[in-house]
Amino acid sequence: MNRSVQPGVSWTIWRVLLLSQWREQPVRLSVTVLAIALGVALGAAVHLINAVALGEFSAAAKRLVGEPDLVVRGPREGFKEDLFVTLARDPAVHLASPVLELEVALPGQRDTLKVLGLDPFRAAALQPALIGDMAGGVLDLLRPDGIYLSASAAQRLHLKHGDQLPIMVGDSPKSLRVVGILSEEAYGQALGIMDIASAQWVFDKIGRVNRIDLRLESGTDVDSLRERLPAGVLAVAPEVERQRAVTATRAYRVNLNMLALVALLTGAFLVFSTQSLSVLRRRASLGLLRALGVTRSQLQLALIGEGAALGLVGSLAGILLGLMCASVVLQWVAGDLGNVQLHTAGSALHTAKATLRAAPLNLLVFLAIGTTVATLGAWLPARTAARQPPARSLKGGDADYTVFAARSWRIGVALLAAGALLTTLPAVGGLPVFGYAAIAALLFGAVLLMPVLWIKILKIAPRIDVTVADTAIAQLRENIGLSTLSLASVIVSFSLMVAMAIMVYSFRASFEQWLGKLLPADLQMREPLGNDTAYWSPADQARLAAVPGVARIEFRRTRQLLLDAAHPPVTLIARNSTGAQIADALPLLRRMQSPLPEGTEPAWISEALGDLYGYKLGDTLALPLGGRTRRFTITGIWRDYARAFGAIVITRTAYVEATGDSSANEGAVWLDGRNTAAAEAALRGCFARPDALEILTSTALRERSLGLFDRAFAITYALEAVAVIIGLVGVSLAASSTALARRAEFGMLRHIGMLRRQVIGMVASEGAVMSLFGVVYGLILGGMLSLVLVYVVNRQSFNWSIDLALPGRQLALLALILIAAAAVTALWSGRTATGQDAVRAVREDW
């Protein structure tokens, strides 16, 4: 073949091919572009939101921590400020700044307010951004009840300079005076700043701090400094703290990115199927081009160019869509999907400009990814078309696809085996990398294995002596390429939907069961979650327990505990029950069979704690409590969906003995009557500020939790629905364009006496047989993928297990919808293709 052609020839061929494609099937190509756009949009939006959120969080953390070399952190209730004196005198330390960092309870509000108690004169060197913003107001900060609020906090609490801020300390309401508002630039999050001495006084923490910021002398051995710190006090580099936030949200980000990848792959697959179908349909024209002197590489380049053009258009649209989505999410919908930082970032960002600023280079990467994926989708059909001898292309027919199918099954089986092996590999850096690889391998393996199974099934399908059905089967058997490509679209989107449906249903079922186990009492009451200042004293607890109608209250002390600087704090729950009662009440997955060693206390850890810190049953767990390290024996591992970073349950007796803290901040209440409203009112009546207490019936809490669960998964359902709709539209467009291409055939059948409804019936039969096979295959494949999602991806991403449950009714409904959609599509295509044009088409040449 002559390769010395003019450079413009490829462009001309490409232009002619693509433009004719657009003219011929604009809807089909638009759907393909839309699929790519959605994939890119989702990926770009997730990336942008996280980039903005993490960027904002990082900046906030930097301002919050300032510019120290090391941050010394202790338990949330703090440690004696003697340590500050010791460290300040340490020759290795150039400057030390004590901090009391608290989550302060606000009466009647579920959200707490972060308050920093600082020594403004020491902090000025380490937190110049914060203190500098106060300018001449620093002296006001020294007022005993003075507090500076960040602009965001003032806005959220509807407060201005000179207003009173009500707070809860213990069970008593108090108030602070707003002595100034920080500028928006100084700090984005909601925050209050007080003088440390005032904070210690107001929050009843006299003589205690929980953070010391250090600037070290150059050449200081940090490790030797760490060794001098008491138990439960850790020295952390500021970048480790910032990285912790990144790590904490990584699993969510990766999973959302995987959803984006699924959408993008669906788009790539649509490009592949569109191009394959289009190449099959145009093979005579392509053969003609080859016969007229177009070289193999020119043809291949032109066909790949078609895919690249689709990818480029889709990616550009996707980036615009992603920017819009990110902007909307950051402004209005922030705070979901477990990403706490989003809430903060969302409140701090107001315009898409910030979104745009976030990562312009990364947007180019998404453009490249979308275009590349679409180009790859077009590569195989282009290669096949270019390699086809022109004479055979001109002859028509689909027989060589059978040869491809006969070869592809071996790769399919190999990929399935590889997928099975990949599921056995552990997470990489806390991410289920091999789990996702396994899903991809299983998906592609199953798709490659499908043609040979489809051929075998069609081969063994018996003739039933019904012309319509027999002719339909013969058509499918002979045009195996067209039918397998359409089938692959159905199978990919349907199996992914089945897998996600099974995973989410299983998760919900396990979550519901877990809630039932965890909420046996009639009422649940607590102080605002995560707060450090509000609690119930022993006297309060006695009053609460004596409320008429209350049969029993199990009081709990819940607090955060930092076990490792590189991990977020874990939750410690001290329950006012015996070991046996606790073991009975917890949703235990595993329990120690041997008796508890003499002189040790039991601890029950959540799965996440076991996974993240490597603890097993029977191990000794060292907890920094009351300034000392206390040892517990892990006697049980329980399922916990509420605390992703790990939770530990111990008896309250052991906790009080270790810490001397007999306060409580949570309680499960059993009533001896049915009048919950009266009991709730009586419990609230025990406090000066009745609205400060959060009380819910277990039923309401359960409903609220399930509501939150459903809301969190709403985006998954929406994306899945979009994927399936795109898949279905792709299939229906393939069916209609194939039916249109077969107009002359239908016309001939009408000529020889086949009734119109018989022709339509034949097309519908083809659609029904194909979709039935697709649904059965998709259900089996989706089932396999769901096992990987449930037992590998979910387990490795979130460190909690779920039990497999099959949503039989939901899957049956999905399958019926798919078959019905395929039948309706086929009927519609058949009706369109059997009109008067079909009769005329017989007069046209094939």
Binding site: A399, A474, E478, G753, R756, D845
Partner: protein, 240 residues
């Protein structure tokens, strides 16, 4: 739905397979006339060629004869039944039973084997086995392609494909065979063989045949030749 018994009786007596009476057809609803006032009668055993220039309405006439299109005026009677009084299903069933088609572009189904293509009209008529196989085999034998029975159309030449089309058009022994430029895509030798075969088989089935063609050579294989032009259907006046 059906024509009057008197019509039927009269036509059967005359052995007429098809009769056109004052047939007119326009482009669209209000467009220019394609043809007006056509009259024609074709009897059993008669093989007629219709010639005409492109665009005079030969294919439209064929569609009207087969009940695939409706006339604006006049009637088409096939086997004594007035098609204008029948619904689409009834016409289709009549066509299934009584009409065979041969097209210029063959139109054999690529996904069926040669014998399955030929047997298709018998399947539609629900002719039971083993009669169906027997008649298919006879027809394949008659058109000389028995050896290709299990092959697929993509493996065959144009002449062989047209033989399949002729076999399919005749296998159910229709009263009327309509052939639309059946040799338009064939070389002269294959064309001559096809035309001879078509005529032989139409005569052997004791039906009637209409051959639409541009070719005088092809038309000469018919019993009589009519020319369709703006004035209607007229016998061919030989210029020789």
């Amino acid at each position: 739905m059906a024509s009057t018994p008197l019509d039927r009786k009269g036509m059967e007596a005359e052995n007429a397979v098809v009769r056109l009476e004052n047939l007119s057809k326009r482009f669209g609803h209000d467009g220019a006339p394609i043809f007006e006032g056509l009259n024609l009668e074709l009897r059993r055993g008669e093989y007629l060629a219709i010639m005409g220039e492109s665009g005079v309405g030969k294919s439209t006439l064929l569609n009207l004869l087969a009940g695939l299109d409706r006339p604006d005026c006049g009637c088409v009677c096939l086997e004594g039944l007035d098609l204008s009084r029948m619904d689409d299903d009834a016409i289709t069933l009549l066509r299934r039973r009584s009409v065979g088609f041969v097209f210029q572009a063959f139109h054999v189904l690529p996904y069926l084997t040669v014998e399955q293509n030929v047997a298709l009209p018998l399947e539609l008529l629900r002719v039971a086995e083993p009669e169906r196989t027997q008649r298919t085999a006879q027809m394949l034998e008659a058109v000389g392609i028995s050896a290709l029975a299990r092959r697929h159309p993509r493996e065959l030449s144009g002449g062989e494909l047209q033989r399949i089309a002729i076999a399919r058009a005749l296998v159910h022994r229709p009263r009327l065979v309509l052939a639309d430029e059946p040799t338009g895509n064939l070389d002269p030798r294959s064309a001559a063989q096809t035309l001879a075969l078509l005529r032989t088989q139409v005569k052997a089935n004791a039906g009637a045949g209409i051959l639409i063609t541009h070719s005088r050579t092809a038309a000469d294989t018919a019993d009589r030749i009519l020319v369709l032009d703006g004035q209607g259907l007229k016998p061919l006046v030989s210029s020789a």
